[in-house]
């Protein structure tokens, strides 16, 4: 059934034993095949939400359905469908990556022979096969993260959930991780991730929810979200940047260095006048791109608004 969403979160609330209200009635839907980003500042409740989906955290009220299967009422069935890459390292450091993967498969009832084949496949794809028989504690930070991805793939989940998998991982390894996850998504697995690298979410994800203080403040497509941002900043690579950048109505041009200019303008503003002014100064534009922190600006704004809204309501 392609009409059943991969995930339906229905009014989830969580109050921890110490009284912290981590989720205050969260609802959202993730369609099958989606690449979904869950963004939010530290302490927003992302890991709590993921904990409830993976049954590590007991919800106070509400429910979630994974491909229509209720986490509350059919936990075991629901768990079969999920692969989890948690925020914190949580394998036995004295075991070997190969054994960690094969044992994980065993917990899902996958016979040892198939498990061994899969372990080899995924450890290879995540470029860990040459470390497969070393103790896991010998792996670098990035390798440990990749091991957790390989482990999460052992049951070939329909829904892969990654909780800040690239935190503290260097850019090269981050890229290869995203290449792997994008491949998994292209092959049909629904992916949900939380990340602090907002440009990553922008590049990878089709839909997005922003959570703050246990409340969803935005839930939309990445496109529509970015369209909300009315100010755009372009980075221009130029042959030589003039000391006095052109002054144009509605456009702020800044000289960054000898070969770089930045132009900020309303989305609706045309680019022709900018190019004309630069041409008039004898400046040649060799390339141009969007400045990548747009989402970050938006994110800050949304969260600030959300907070102000709450304060007013309180």
């Amino acid at each position: 059934m392609s009409t059943v969403p991969a995930l339906v979160v229905d009014n989830l609330r969580k109050t921890y034993g110490n009284g912290v209200e981590a989720l205050k009635g969260v609802s959202l839907t993730v369609e099958q095949g989606d690449f979904f980003a869950l963004l939010g500042p530290n302490g927003a409740g992302k890991s709590t939400l993921i904990g409830i989906l993976s049954s590590l955290v007991n919800s106070t009220s509400g429910d979630a359905r994974i491909f229509g299967v209720s986490v509350n009422r059919q936990r075991n069935e629901a768990m079969k469908l999920i692969g989890l890459v948690p925020q914190e390292i949580n394998f036995n450091q004295f075991e070997k990556p190969f054994d960690i993967c094969v044992n994980e498969a065993g917990f899902y009832g996958i016979p040892r022979k198939i498990a061994a084949e899969r372990a080899e496949k995924y450890l290879n794809e995540l470029r860990l096969w040459d470390k497969a028989r070393d103790q896991a504690r010998m792996l670098s930070g990035g390798m440990k993260r990749r091991l957790m991805i390989a482990r999460a793939m052992m049951n070939e989940p329909k829904l892969l959930i990654l909780d800040e998998p690239t935190a503290g991982v260097d850019i090269e390894i981050r890229r290869s991780m995203w290449q792997f996850v994008s491949g998994i998504n292209a092959a049909g697995t629904t992916v949900i991730l939380t990340t602090h690298y907002l440009e990553e979410a922008e590049q990878l994800c089709r839909n997005i929810a922003i959570i703050d203080h246990g409340t969803i403040v935005e839930n939309t497509s990445m496109k529509r979200l970015l369209a909300k941002l009315d100010v755009e900043t372009f980075v221009l690579d130029v042959t030589h940047a003039p000391e006095q950048p052109p002054a144009l109505p509605g456009v702020t041009v800044r000289r960054i260095d000898e070969h770089t200019l930045e132009a900020e303008m309303a989305r609706s503003h045309d680019l022709n006048s900018l190019f004309a002014a630069l041409s008039a100064q004898g400046v040649t534009v060799t390339s141009m791109r969007n400045k990548t922190n747009r989402l970050e600006e938006l994110f800050v704004r949304l969260v600030e608004n959300g907070r102000l809204g709450q304060e007013r309501a309180a």
């Binding site: 921890y16 007991n58 936990r75 075991n76 948690p86 394998f91 044992n103 009832g109 016979p111």
Partner: protein, 258 residues
Amino acid sequence: MSGSPNLVALYTIVRREIARILRIWTQTLIPPAITVTLYFVIFGKLIGSRIGPIAGGFSYMQYIVPGLVMMNVITNSYGNISSSFFGAKFQRSVEEMLVSPMPNWVILLGYVLGAVARGLAVGLLALLIALFFTSLHVVHPLITFLSVLLGATIFSLAGFVNAMYAKKFDDVALVPTFVLTPLTYLGGVFYSISMLGEPWQTISRINPIVYMVNAFRYGVLGVSDVHVGASFVVMLVFVASLAAFALFLLKRGIGLRS
């Protein structure tokens, strides 16, 4: 191994537990062998030879063998499960099992079987060492085996419950010192409780270890301070209630799920 998913999961846990026991054999198998040898030399050989025959005409050495074997079975089953399960909590690798579809009883049974395996291995080792010091002829092999099995199961379950509540390593280290060791020493390992005056004889009967040691001693030597049927009833009640309690804690996620 194929078959039902739960069976595969169970096999996975047991296999991993046994691999752990063998990997750290210098901590799991050697120390009990050394301790039991010392007990046999000091209590059995040196002191025992001056004591003369005890209940049923056995030498003191022969009399304490079943108690010492059982003591090792108990402490090693308990130690195995509490350190292994708490270790999994401490490293958070327990989450691998908690997010999997496997039901709680598989987790519990897997850890218990692993701990019982350690208990039986150490018990067998102690029995083999005993044969260097004295001759033994097992009177009731089935009762012997069942009493070891039940004793190991009870203390595996108890160790599991301990590990669930434990928040730091001290919490799994202190119970053996302050609860298990006194109960064992007062459980008739080194003496017959009939040697005690009242009220100590009656008080001793609330100590579950008395029943285990005596059921085992009955199996090996054919003598016991308590009725062997009563011993088995007591042990089965302990197994059932501890298992039920552990499953209840797992269902509630005590110490595991927040």
